[in-house]
Symmetry: C2
Subunit: 242 residues, 2 copies
DNA sequence: TATTTATGATAGTATTACTATCTTATAAAA
DNA sequence: TTTTATAAGATAGTAATACTATCATAAATA
């Protein structure tokens, strides 16, 4: 039922340059034609990220996207039913990618506290685009998710979309974080809610810091590192065994 | 620059039935004609709340609203420039109303911890509609804010809107909560961020609980009281003086 | 070589998001 | 009381959005 999204990781181990292929499973119900299977599809992903980042999801249309790519509106509709599905696709890809980043960067860490700190840092820090990789600019995508991500589920269709498993990557990520939280303190009562709080606040505090700074304590420096400090304080106060 | 929105509070003091008038200042730049100044205007507020609650902000149009009220599209446009302004108006009204609720219900409380607990309860609990009052159904509005509230600021125009003070009620509320937090612990470093976290999570955990329950620990009971427990635990662990 | 498949080109429709104008009812000012 | 603002209803119209349908062609595959 699922097929495979390739993502490349470059490693240099003992002077040997390696290239791994990470597989992010994408839900087939999110598209009509697999955007990763053709040049046009890849262009749809690449240019939609650029366009949404530039002018926001509300003003984003398939017409503008088609003009940007140099194809026709009908061409886009062969890949995605509508722009909502495309947004859900992009968010699902992002959460899947982030879950991999987390498992990759916490792989050899045993201490759950160190692990959770790493997760918070990965969530709250800007990502560098891996130029080499693909048609997906992770840095721009990260910024899109901050501003547009919650629009993927804050709809009346959330129940229908959820039945079709569109939010599985988000829920999986939340479960991963919830489990690390339980490793830190097996008696903590709200691992999943704290997990979703960390995810959402890593992004919302970033949005607030840059757009409505008086809602945060980071308005002066506007440094993401401060969000990390705040979240660390919040999380580890809660998990302290008393 | 501001004018006045009347909201009625009924009190029974020593057998004497009293009616107070609360004034919620609404930013004039949010509308073209004051919706509180006429029957049509009040109908726009009343029916827009019903319609947005019923089918969501995305599918909500001024055409449908006009049909619902029994007026014309052009009639609506005389009050609000577009549906975004109307949404911002409704959210601003809600935050202003909530700030009053908070100051009213914490008025005689000295202990900042008790005060903060009251705030969390007010934020995370469903509100009963005050039938008598007005054309605004606070209960429906509360549910709208949960699902649609963040769409008021998660836009590319957030900077422009902010310059026009559209988010002042939200920021004022956040400042009020931040100050109570500082009363609890003057050394706490993130009062405003914790304030906005409480506000957002009171709503997001509610949305998740009802729509994506695996993102929370309240999926089984679906009781708002559990969100209050979670937030209390989160907040007061952080504020504990160590 | 035949045939499937993806794309391009073009057209068309219903709905959305407005703007404009003209008329009538009403209420306030002269 | 007459004049005159003002709000609202009625109607029309336009550009953009969100699609769907059809036909031709080029490339890949059988």
């Amino acid at each position: 039922m699922f097929f495979v999204h390739l993502y490349f990781i470059k490693l240099t181990v003992n002077q040997v340059y390696m290239k791994l292929q990470l597989q992010i499973k994408m839900n087939e119900a999110l598209f009509l034609r697999n955007p990763e299977s053709s040049e046009l599809g890849k262009n749809i992903l690449k240019h939609s990220i650029q366009l949404i980042h530039k002018s926001g999801f509300e003003t984003f249309t398939f017409k503008k996207l088609a003009e940007d790519i140099g194809t026709t509106e009908a061409g886009i509709y062969r890949y995605f039913e509508n722009k909502h599905k495309l947004l859900v696709y992009l968010t699902a890809w992002y959460w899947g990618w982030l879950e991999f980043q987390i498992s990759f960067h916490t792989n050899n860490i045993n201490d759950p506290i160190v692990k959770l700190k790493k997760v918070i840092k990965l969530l709250a820090s800007a990502v560098a685009d891996d130029e080499q990789t693909s048609y997906i600019n992770e840095s721009l995508l990260h910024q899109i998710i901050i501003t547009e991500g919650s629009k993927a589920y804050l709809t009346k269709q959330v129940g229908e979309d959820n039945k079709q498993q569109f939010f599985k990557p988000y829920k999986d990520l939340c479960a991963v974080i919830g489990n690390i939280i339980l490793e830190c303190n097996p008696k903590y009562k709200y691992p999943k809610s704290l997990g979703s709080t960390i995810i959402e606040m890593a992004h919302f505090q970033n949005f607030f810091m840059n757009n409505l700074p008086s809602l945060t304590d980071f308005g002066k420096t506007k440094k993401e590192a401060e969000i990390v400090f705040f979240l660390n304080d919040l999380v580890f106060s809660s998990l302290k065994k008393s």
